[in-house]
């Protein structure tokens, strides 16, 4: 490759850098907002670089948010277990067998995935309220799963379809039970897809807003995202700590997305293209 060609390619990098920088500016300003005092954050013009690098507000925000961390983990992991537990067997049945209810199941999944969250969560609040399930982790896990189960099932189904049917038939001929085939062939072979779906399900539940906001009125049970409202007091917003807290709350999804990289994008778009 000649030097001229190289230089020409760097020109594209420079051009692409402009929109990229603009797109990540909100994240950058949130991050530096957490370094500024309550006065500095209203400085005119706004600072491009924080005047000091003290972690004071980040530590304050961390201390405030720590009690909510446990709730976030319970909800996200509980939802993950429920979602995989329901989605995996159904994805297997949908992918490899022609069942009478197969088509209608797929239709119901695709349909419920498209539903507006409000249309499910508002009536579900009244239903759960009658069942005394409000202010209960279970209600939130059940509510988030209405949207994570279809997503997980549809993606896992597409992946399991690619596992050679011959493998399964051979196992049946050897006398393996249906459950054995599922446990010893399907699950190990679809582990990459399970990992991607697991990550996306976790990020989704971690970032949930409407379900936790509606079903958890007890502050001691709320997850971190709702906990951020602590910084929006009755007499005004503590912007610097809100920004620091927001950054702390955004770290797990950002790290996971960074580590998982490309597979995550493939997973996110899979639902859009496959059916």
């Amino acid at each position: 490759m000649g030097k001229k060609r190289r230089a020409k390619e760097w020109k594209w990098t420079l051009i692409a850098l402009i929109p990229t920088v603009i797109i990540i500016l909100p994240l950058y300003f949130t991050a530096i907002g957490g370094f500024q005092t309550g006065v500095e954050i209203f400085h005119r013009p706004p600072y491009w670089f924080p005047p000091h690098h003290s972690l004071e507000f980040y530590i304050d925000a961390w201390v405030t948010l720590l009690p909510y961390l446990k709730n976030s983990l319970i909800l996200a992991l509980g939802n993950l277990a429920l979602t995989l537990g329901v989605a995996l067997p159904s994805a297997f049945a949908l992918a490899k067998f022609r069942l009478k209810l197969g088509k209608s199941t797929f239709f119901i999944l695709a349909f419920t995935q498209m539903l507006p969250a409000t249309a499910v969560i508002i009536p579900l609040f009244l239903i759960f309220n009658n069942l005394k399930l409000i202010n209960n982790y279970l209600s939130v896990i059940l509510g988030i799963a209405v949207f994570s189960i279809p997503f997980a099932t549809i993606i896992l189904r597409a992946y399991i379809q690619c596992i050679p049917t011959g493998l399964i038939e051979a196992a049946f001929i050897d006398g393996a039970s249906l459950f054995r085939v599922f446990w010893s062939i399907i699950i190990p072979l679809s582990s990459p897809a399970i990992a991607t779906v697991g990550i996306l399900t976790f990020i989704g539940a971690w970032g949930d807003f409407i379900v936790s906001l509606t079903f958890l009125k007890d502050q001691t049970m709320q997850p971190m995202g709702i906990g951020l409202y602590y910084f929006i007091g009755r007499y005004g917003v503590v912007w610097n700590k809100l920004m620091a807290g927001s950054m702390i709350y955004a770290v797990p999804p950002l790290i996971v997305a960074l580590l998982a990289g490309k597979s995550i994008v493939t997973g996110l778009t899979a639902g859009a293209f496959k059916e």
């Binding site: 594209w12 692409a16 609040f125 807003f209």
Partner: protein
């Protein structure tokens, strides 16, 4: 594979039953609520009465609802157009190969990965009266007094649209970029030989070949945008007053601020009809595309 074993239904049934109980039943419950006068008192006392279509009539006559419906159309139309154009231009740009492409590409995904709660709080600060936009504009001398981006009558809707465009860029970008990668480069090279310019290439080669992907991006984007809730609830809560509501936030506010569950349900049913209509449209367009290709 064909197996008639009833045991297979143990595998299939969980997802089906789950979605029927927790996804479909609430919709039916919702439909019933929309035909009854359910408010806090009648709900607690269990004394709500059937009132036919009265909730719908009241909702359709309500000027707040009319404004909200209009808001939702403007919000969806503008968000979608800009997201699409920006995503398309980015996809064209990233269709070249250049150093650090992978890194820049993953940075563009940030709005998608960031929890909406975080983006919401950022934009609430960004657009607030003492916030960043006004901070820059005032210190550059472009304005004399702060512009009420999210505290006036007309502007809040447009500030929300700006935030939502930012949020939706990665979605259009990824779909269109994936589609672009599938177009063989030779097509462009032979066009180069024929001496076509950039615009001609986009209009006569890229767009027609990308048509199925463009349709998917626009229709899915439309469904996702019509039902936006989180962003609006975090930034303005539909306020000030009721000026920046979308259908989703209006129904939520009717349910949990005013405890008018019946009326909230009627708004939800109207929004559902909109989303279901769009989904049906999406599937029929896609089916048509597929049959014309196959």
């Amino acid at each position: 594979m064909k197996t008639s074993s009833y045991k297979l239904y143990f595998f299939l049934i969980p997802a089906l039953v789950y979605q029927l109980i927790f996804g479909i039943y609430p919709l039916i419950y919702n439909l019933i609520l929309s035909l009854k006068d359910v408010n806090l008192i009648t709900y607690m006392g269990g004394t709500s009465q059937w009132i036919g279509l009265s909730n719908y009539v009241q909702t359709l006559k309500d000027t707040v609802f009319q404004r909200t419906f209009f808001n939702t159309l403007v919000f969806t139309g503008l968000s979608l157009s800009f997201q699409f154009i920006i995503g398309f231009l980015l996809a064209l740009l990233f269709n070249h190969s250049f150093p650090l492409k992978g890194l820049l590409q993953s940075l563009i995904m940030v709005p998608w990965i960031l929890p909406i709660i975080v983006s919401g709080f950022f934009f609430r600060w960004f657009f607030s009266d003492q916030g960043m936009v006004n901070g820059f504009l005032l210190s550059w001398g472009l304005i004399d007094k702060p512009i009420p981006w999210i505290t006036s009558q007309i502007l809040p809707l447009f500030s929300l649209i700006v935030a939502n465009i930012w949020l939706g860029i990665p979605f259009s970008f990824v779909l269109l970029y994936t589609g672009l990668r599938a177009i063989p480069l030779e097509l462009f090279e032979s066009a180069d030989i024929d001496g076509t310019n950039w615009w001609q290439k986009i209009l006569f080669i890229t767009v027609p070949l990308l048509k199925p992907v463009i349709i998917t991006t626009l229709t899915l984007g439309c469904i996702f945008t019509v039902k936006v809730f989180d962003l609006v609830w975090i930034i303005t809560k539909g306020g000030p007053g009721e000026v920046s509501h979308l259908l989703s936030t209006l129904s939520y506010s009717l349910a949990f601020n005013k405890f008018h569950f019946g009326k909230a349900s009627s708004v939800l049913v109207i929004m559902l009809c909109l989303v279901i209509g769009l989904t049906v449209l999406l599937n029929s367009i896609r089916a048509e595309e597929e049959s014309s290709i196959g």
